[in-house]
Symmetry: C2
Subunit: 241 residues, 2 copies
DNA sequence: GTCTCTCAATGGTTCAACCAATTGTTTCGA
DNA sequence: TCGAAACAATTGGTTGAACCATTGAGAGAC
């Protein structure tokens, strides 16, 4: 019944990283804690400093550690911020595993629910920040600053996701915005006349905490954006290097 | 207007990893391609082999490379499978950034839409695989094998996500199931009487490609599961080490 | 007190080996 | 001729020692 498991020909640095991960998971180590210096850790694990460094490097890339130089430096347990997960998802877009049609579809699925939850859970501060963001977007639009307008617009979605108070959605939204940014850069910035009006309707929903209306508004806006993006993608599909 | 940017005190291995990433993004390197041997690459970048290895290590952890030993070994460009992103999200659960209440909520949001899309896009093969999975779950249930039943149930969601044909949702579902697995292991396995009936209703929706009905069924099931899980979490909240 | 300067601690990098796994080739025997 | 065992070449994995670069705390001068 049970299959054979591949023999554990684990590399030394994997074993070390695994042990440190284990202590993290068991709450033996907490954010902000400092690990012993490399030279000492190498001694504890009975490996060379190079090998230990590869282990630390892997944990750093995974977003679990932060390495600081200097007298009071060292390896610090990082607050889980999701950067690594965002980078991992963004890589998949670069690799072509995630294509623009997947990206736009995922944005609709996630964005709709983010808008709904944000409506229900937003604080006054969230609302003020979002209103400021929309004002900044208006400003960039009237100035014709497409690049900044795009950046402010990504930020709107990120802020909205934070207001939804669910880190899974936050991180996913960050990743989707990162991919969208790359997408837009590759097909070129283009003006449109429906995003800003949608923003104001969305703000109205946020003020009245009407989650269903916000979800409908966001879905409708994202679907228009999807058609817009995929059309631009189709036009430019053949000319990429 | 423009803020100062932190001076780029990039480490050597970061610069190398960035260059290789860049070639990947520009399609200069494709899945399956092999990079030159470490000794040669180190020469090309004018760094020591150790430093080069830290760069390769970081790319390996990010899921972009696979390192193989032996005469025909080397650093191979990996097919983008999302393992790194899944691990990154799972780490956030272990770190406590993502809590059980976030997990269960995200599962409802994602699972509902996955069910809807899977209904619309599933092939005959998808349906057959899902039916086989439910049969296996039935078998494990009647045998009282809770552990296997749980594993088969996670697999159901993963299969359903694959049928939805969107890698973002696939990877996210994989990550959510990984977190759920850890959650269930920590609070203990518990029987319930509503998952299996729900599975059969879901299969019926899949057969008739009724996406809305599938979404409703999945949402309802996941909400029951949410109450179930959070209740178990509350009971066990105080006794964790 | 407060401002420098110094210095020790720590991560970053280099170098030169050698170990270990894998594969292709050669050799030798049946 | 064929197959298996021995060998050699290639490549990643590991080691150890040394030196560089950065950082911050403490000593010392004013």
């Amino acid at each position: 019944m049970r299959e054979f498991r591949p023999v554990a020909t684990r590399r030394a640095f994997e074993e070390i990283a695994s042990q440190i991960r284990g202590r993290l998971a068991r709450q033996g180590l907490r954010a902000g804690d400092r690990l012993p210096p490399e030279r000492e850790l190498a001694g504890q694990f009975h490996v060379s400093r190079n090998t230990l460094r590869e282990a630390l490097r892997s944990l750093e890339i995974a977003g679990l550690l932060e390495l600081k130089k200097g007298a009071t430096g060292g390896a610090f347990i990082k607050e889980g911020g999701g950067d690594a997960a965002v980078a991992g998802l963004a890589d998949l877009y670069h690799l072509g595993t995630i294509k623009p049609e997947h990206l736009t579809e995922a944005r609709i699925v996630i964005g709709t629910e983010v808008a709904r939850l944000a409506c229900l859970r937003r604080t006054k501060e969230d609302l003020a920040t979002l209103e400021a963001n929309v004002a900044a977007a208006e400003h960039a639009t009237t100035k014709g600053d497409m690049v900044n307008r795009a950046l402010v617009n990504y930020e709107f979605h990120r802020l909205l996701a934070r207001a939804a108070r669910n880190p899974v959605l936050t991180i996913l939204t960050d990743a989707l915005m990162e991919m969208t940014r790359h997408f837009v850069e590759s097909v070129g910035y283009m003006p449109n006349r429906y995003v800003m009006p949608s923003r104001h309707r969305l703000l109205a929903c946020l003020r009245t905490k009407d989650g269903d209306a916000a979800a409908r508004e966001m879905e409708s806006m994202l679907k228009r954006l999807q058609r817009f993006h995929l059309a631009a993608y189709g036009l430019n599909a053949g000319r990429k290097k």
